[in-house]
Symmetry: C2
Subunit: 201 residues, 2 copies
């Protein structure tokens, strides 16, 4: 439902190829969307059939030819319609939170090991994101750029980093909790059956 509008949104400010778009999905845009080439290419073709975008072939030297897409008037209309739709609250899917939630089925040591691994990966990700923001925001002050898209982009990305930091803080906190309770759980049950998740409180 939304890859379509992601493509239209990206093409609303610059002419791009499927490959270019993939770069954005792997970079800046990754904080709110992602996709892969084998989905992007057919979707672009579909958008062109619908008349929302238009392509032109560009020959290059030393590189393969590429197909650049541009948004049409109809495409802009479609995008604006979508942008005006009532916003929806995100439905979360987080495998690691799920793994953690069910980690009472592992030993405390195993659970802690998983948390440690995640903590390291998460720290690395945050470092990369901060580096990326620094690199791209360096120029924002030097050049003019009080453009809407740029201001919003900076805010969205900064917020994304904050989100990731909060996540990291929680993992650390979870680790402390498990360490503290380790001795208590070492002797106790591993298979007590509850009636329901919420009922058991």
């Amino acid at each position: 439902m939304s890859l379509k509008h992601g493509l239209l949104g990206l093409l609303s400010t610059w002419e791009a190829s499927g490959y270019d778009i993939k770069q954005e999905f792997d970079g800046f845009v990754s904080v709110f969307w992602h996709s892969n080439l084998s989905q992007i290419y057919p979707e672009l073709a579909k958008l062109e059939t619908n008349g929302w975008i238009q392509s032109r072939l560009v020959q290059q030297v030393g590189k393969p030819d590429k197909k650049l897409y541009q948004i049409t008037a109809a495409g802009k209309e479609e995008l604006e319609t979508w942008l005006s739709q009532p916003p929806e609250l995100p439905k979360r899917k987080d495998t690691f939170l799920m793994q953690t939630f069910f980690s009472d089925q592992l030993s405390t040591d195993e659970a802690l090991f998983q948390l440690q691994t995640f903590e390291r990966k998460q720290r690395e990700k945050i470092d990369e994101m901060e580096k990326f923001l620094d690199d791209t925001l360096q120029g924002i002050r030097t050049r003019q750029a009080i453009k809407k898209r740029i201001v919003v982009a900076a805010s969205v990305y900064t917020h994304a980093i904050e989100q990731e930091k909060l996540h990291l803080a929680w993992v650390k906190n979870m680790m402390v909790t498990l360490e503290k309770a380790r001795s208590i759980w070492m002797m106790t049950e591993r298979s007590s059956r509850l009636k329901s998740l919420t009922d058991c409180f």
Copy 2:
């Protein structure tokens, strides 16, 4: 890939029907996973075929019969294998962040209206979540319950609320930014073409 393990995880501590599981996906579990009945029922059937869970029919009075599923030894093994898999960093998909990111294609007024609508919905959601946590945590202190699952559940849910609060704070901040810049943008461009998202900084 993970609905399977979500079902196994839920069935690892209590016997449940597809309908019961759906309740959890709509309640507590919603902070990290969700699904709908028309996916859950066939998936449970598949898990039973694989020998990871076992069902029994239970007759009820005044209510339709139900099929309760229990995890098997093989199912527990499968679950533990999955729980020990290296944790993966979540790949975010957030339509509202995307709408906001592309909101330079709307007027400042329209963008602000979208943010206001989201802010209200988000506040309502947080209120509900806090109520839910209060209701369920009330009993945690009165009864024993230093069980692993419960401690982790409380931590996961509290963290989920913090996440949503951070999101709310960002929306508020975004609104202030737009208000401030409104006068500047009123006169300026709405269609300046950039070379690329990151290049434009």
